[in-house]
């Protein structure tokens, strides 16, 4: 498979950052233990690790937000640093771009780019200088951005470019990007790659923090893996595979062998014919049998979530037919879809799947409130309690008190709460959209096990994802979607990861 290779290693560039013996303890918890890290000027480096591996703490130490424990040494640009503060770190050229970008949607691109330089402090606004700075940086990076445009009107990819411009305007020597590709389409990822090369050309080092293993390896020159606060090692990206990386990050070998049951005799539960919706998808036809896990893979922008929302009644299709157990259904609202037995686990768990501030129990019964009533039309404590208890047990949700806010749970447990909510509606078809986003690798397996047992019990499952291993190892059949159309169908036992990746990227 053609890898995007980096043109040789610049072996003699000086190290921009050298960290040795970095440790950090919070009370009794060890966040980092004796970590070494070197980043050369202009290097593209990836920091890989699960939640709790210490990578966020390491970033905070580099950016001066947290001090390391005594005994560690940080050398930046040849100078030993003691008492690194955020402003000092910024002065040295370290810029962090967090996942939420931290930009101002109501200000213009130029204002966002030049804010720290020209708009802080107490004096008159220097509009001309601001525009100059912004235009200069935009030109240097070679991107297409209108300095006078309102930031909120831009797409996420464009906003990310603005964030990078802002880092550049601050004379960055090292740009740390946290999960930069999470919301980007394939083309946008390519643009980002180009930008990274441009930064590299200017001697600016880039550190990616990402969990998207295959993209990580595409972009980085070297990968450092952290686990439980310790550094396992640093490898050249070319020597690494996603599988090996995953094993290193978690310390487990995962049995990626799926047994595809013989489903020829199973009844077709969901049948979609020539479904179309202008601007979203076109002429989609598929079938899911009882007990089948159908994987649907496509990058952002392929129309996969739009298709799911159509099946869920929230963005009804304009033409085509949907049949459930042979009977044609009209799905004009999600309530209609739920009543017909279709459930949708959204990819945006935190905003659309859960009401974070409210109790776990309330979240679990949210979609079935009208079925849990007792005397006088009021909610029956027995019935709600029984439902909550049943699902907590059934799905193995680790809770100390169901009245706690669901916000207090880990990502994996939160996702189980969402699944519980939907299973309570007694669906025949379960649509899962990127079900393990934001879930630790260890917890992912738990989710997959739940999905498999649901299928074994006769549920028809549509699993939508943009992660190849997810569909390759955990579904019975794979459909590839691109630009609103179904492109191809594969059997997971008859295709390799790399071939599948090619099929998607093509």
């Amino acid at each position: 498979m053609p890898r995007r290779s980096h043109h040789g290693e610049d072996t003699h560039l000086p190290n921009f950052i050298e960290m040795s013996g970095i440790s950090k303890h919070f009370g009794g918890v060890t966040a980092l233990a004796d970590v070494d890290l070197t980043i050369a000027a202009g290097e593209v480096h990836c920091l890989a690790g699960e939640n709790g591996s210490g990578k966020s703490t390491l970033i905070k130490i580099i950016s001066g937000v947290q001090p390391p424990d005594a005994g560690g040494e940080i050398v930046i640009d040849g100078t030993r640093q003691t008492h690194l503060t955020p402003s000092e770190s910024t002065r040295l050229g370290i810029q962090v771009i967090y996942q939420d970008l931290a930009l101002f949607p109501d200000l213009t691109v130029a204002e966002n780019i030049g804010f720290a330089q020209h708009l802080s402090g107490l004096h008159g606004a220097r509009w001309a200088k601001l525009r100059e700075t912004a235009q200069a940086v935009i030109a240097r990076l070679g991107v297409q951005l209108d300095p006078a445009a309102r930031l909120g009107d831009l797409s996420i990819a464009q906003r990310q470019l603005v964030a990078i411009c802002r880092a550049l305007a601050a004379d960055a020597r090292l740009v740390i990007m946290d999960e930069p590709t999470a919301s980007l389409t394939r083309t946008e990822v390519d643009t980002l790659l180009g930008i990274t090369r441009e930064l590299k050309r200017r001697g600016i080092a880039v550190v990616f923090v990402s969990h998207r293993l295959d993209e990580v390896l595409e972009i980085a020159e070297r990968v450092t893996v952290l686990r439980d606060g310790r550094k396992l090692g640093t490898w050249d990206a070319q020597e690494m595979t996603p599988a090996r990386l995953g094993t290193l990050m978690t310390g487990h070998e995962f049995d990626y062998k799926i047994a595809v049951p013989d489903l020829a005799a199973a009844p077709v539960v969901l049948s979609v014919s020539n479904l179309s919706r202008t601007g979203d998808f076109e002429d989609v036809s598929l079938e899911i049998r009882a007990g089948e896990i159908l994987g649907l893979i496509g990058l952002l922008g392929s129309g996969r979530t739009e298709l799911a929302l159509s099946l869920f009644g929230m963005r009804p299709a304009e033409s085509g037919e949907i049949r459930l157990n042979g009977k044609p259904v009209l799905l004009r609202s999600n309530r209609a879809a739920i009543d017909e037995g279709i459930a949708y686990v959204s990819e945006d768990r935190l905003s659309l799947g859960l009401v974070l501030e409210q109790p776990i129990a309330s979240n679990i019964i949210l979609s079935t409130l009208d079925r849990l009533t007792g005397a006088g039309g009021l909610l029956s404590r027995e019935r709600t309690g029984a439902s909550v208890g049943h699902w907590i047990e059934q799905l193995g949700i680790k809770v100390s008190d169901p009245e706690n806010a669901v916000r207090t749970l880990s990502g994996g447990n939160q996702q189980r709460v969402v699944i519980a909510k939907w299973l309570a509606t007694n669906p025949r078809v379960l649509i899962l959209d990127s079900p393990t986003v934001g879930v630790d690798i260890n917890a992912k397996d738990g989710i997959y096990a739940i999905v498999k047992s649901l299928a074994a019990a006769g549920m028809a499952v549509l699993m939508i994802s943009d992660e190849i291993p997810e569909v390759l190892y955990h579904s019975h059949r794979i459909l590839v979607m691109q630009s609103g159309r179904l492109k191809a169908e594969y059997h997971p036992m008859q295709i390799t990861e790399s071939a599948l990746r090619e099929a998607i990227d093509a």
Binding site: P105, D106, L107, E111, H118, G124, A125
Partner: protein, 332 residues
């Protein structure tokens, strides 16, 4: 059509301008007494108070907060200033200083409470409204101050123009206050860094903190400014009414809020302009004035104003929905 003009017409202010112009044209045609110099001068004078308050409230809204207590601050400021002015000869500087000072103090108190209590600004300012107003009414027993110092009442006005009927038209204190408030607010918002920081704060509070904006200090400035403007507004109102009544001003907060929001300011912050606010005030002012001149009984005017507000905010919302749907289509 030139680009900036096209962009202008699509903006909220542009549309509002068209509506206001249409209203003015309609009224000028429908009643001869609207578009007269006398009427316009009277209009400016009588809406100066609300206008100034709108300028101050705009800044608060842009920062992402809200202030409901300014009418109470204004009442306290003017009462204190006039009481002192009646007792001692303090002159213009004195009353300006007291009004400004009291207003700023009230504003700073708001900022302090908002910053430390963890309550939202609407709740805090509802509480301080009651505290300021309650204390004022308690201390004054509701008594009006009927007689104000002569030098104050005879005020400041400069005859600018005399028409053929020998009627003088003066540029008075109220107009001075109104214009100053808008000009000062515009300068702060568009020409100073602090102004951009206020927009930034309202746009994304987390990001603002990360860039190093000191939220507490900005709040002190924003609410302090609102208090200052309220104090100045109370001064010109007292001069116009030629008396001070402690319960005359409280109750008008929501009218000012309506004007600012009609002018395009968002309740969530980060959005709003002085020109929009001016248009919002003008819209409501011309509407009320027009109804009066058209002979509509005064007890029906609030009904019209309410209907206009409802229609305007609904139109705004529909527009925003359409805009968001279009943007989604572009990005998909």
């Amino acid at each position: 059509m030139p680009e900036f003009l096209k962009r202008g017409l699509h903006s909220h202010e542009g549309k509002l301008l068209l509506v206001v112009l249409a209203l003015i044209v309609f009224l000028s045609v429908a009643t001869p007494s609207f578009f007269t110099l006398q009427n316009l001068v009277d209009l400016l004078t009588s809406y100066a108070f609300s206008g100034m308050l709108a300028a101050g409230l705009l800044v608060v809204l842009i920062s992402g907060g809200i202030d409901i207590s300014f009418t109470a601050s204004a009442s306290v400021a003017q009462y204190v200033a006039m009481t002192v002015a009646n007792a001692y000869h303090i002159g213009w500087l004195g009353v300006i200083g007291i009004c400004g000072g009291v207003g700023i103090a009230c504003g700073l108190l708001n900022a302090l409470l908002i910053g430390t209590l963890g309550l939202s600004s609407i709740i805090v300012t509802i509480a301080t409204l009651n505290v300021f107003f309650g204390l004022l009414m308690f201390a004054t027993h509701g008594n009006e101050i009927f007689s104000l110092p002569d030098w104050f009442v005879n005020g400041a006005s400069w005859v600018v123009y005399t028409d053929k009927n020998e009627t003088p038209y003066a540029f008075n204190l109220q107009m001075l206050g109104l214009i100053s408030a808008f000009v000062l607010t515009a300068i702060i918002l568009t020409r100073t860094n602090i102004g951009r920081q206020i927009y930034a704060l309202g746009s994304n509070k987390d990001a603002a903190q990360r860039v190093g904006i000191k939220v507490f200090r900005i709040n002190l400035l924003v609410y302090g400014y609102m208090g200052f403007v309220a104090g100045m507004a109370s001064l010109i109102q007292a001069q116009d009414a030629q008396s001070v009544s402690p319960n005359a001003l409280v109750g008008r907060e929501l009218d000012v809020l309506a004007a600012v929001v009609l002018g395009g300011a968002s309740l969530t912050g980060g959005v709003g302009t002085v020109s929009g606010t001016i248009l919002g005030v003008m819209l409501l002012a011309c509407l009320e004035n027009g109804l009066l001149l058209l002979g509509v009984p005064s007890y029906w005017s609030q009904c019209f104003t309410g209907a206009v507000i409802l229609i305007a905010v609904s139109a705004l919302a529909i527009e925003r929905q359409r805009h968001r749907a279009a943007a989604r289509r572009v990005m998909a």
